[in-house]
Symmetry: C2
Subunit: 110 residues, 2 copies
DNA sequence: ATCTTTAATCGTATTATTGCGATTAAATAG
DNA sequence: CTATTTAATCGCAATAATACGATTAAAGAT
């Protein structure tokens, strides 16, 4: 998006788009699913799970972190990542609200 | 994403990411919300609602159409867009399934 | 203190997305 | 048939995202 257009949209629209964009890459979906599956903190072995270099995975992790979906805590020489439960609840609320909006739509047209 | 890596991910991961990516722009969120709000088919006046040129809006509409979120039917000289209800239900199911996966995660860690 | 291990960051190449003016295509109106 | 209206497509410039090797930083181990 053009930076000069960012203020043309409603805050919640920017927020939703930002979130969706963070989910808009299969590697990041895979990371989230992995974190959910192991149901425990997981460190650098995320790299093993993906067909990507360490630097690239680190970049994807940062994007997920920036948008609040995951958090990482340093544990010795490695870092433990997991889904940020508190934020995740808020994010889910936001998404569900959007979904309900769309549900109301267009029962009678086209 | 590198094209050669696409087959490294599970089908549902690619699908989810594709979907999320389509939602990952405020203009496309705005379009969907507008279509939902007017609760009726709406034609080219979507362009009026957005701070974008006609060509750009048309492009965003195509992306939403490609992923199945909306459909457009020609009506005379204009085109009538609305949320594709049937697909939207399926998409919502897919997303909710993903959400439930994440919900199970990480109650006890970090 | 030096060596390892682990993950973040930097620099950079490649590719994809965004945005728009101009053009085209299709339907309708006159 | 010739305008007009509406929306898609083309071509292109600008920007952003993706990926990776190399380097750096921080913690632990020896």
């Amino acid at each position: 998006m053009k930076a000069s257009n960012a203020n043309q949209y409603a805050g919640h629209q920017l927020q939703l788009a930002r979130l969706a964009k963070a989910l808009g890459h299969p590697a990041r979906i895979a990371i989230l699913e992995h974190l959910a599956r192991v149901n425990a903190c997981v460190c650098g072995d995320i790299v093993e799970e993906l067909p990507l270099a360490q630097a690239t995975v680190s970049q994807h992790l940062r994007e997920l972190k920036e948008v609040g979906l995951i958090k990482g805590t340093v544990e010795g020489t490695s870092v433990c990542y997991c889904i940020d439960e508190e934020n995740w609840k808020a994010i889910k609320d936001q998404l569900n609200k959007f979904f309900r909006e769309l549900d109301k739509a267009c029962d009678n047209c086209c």
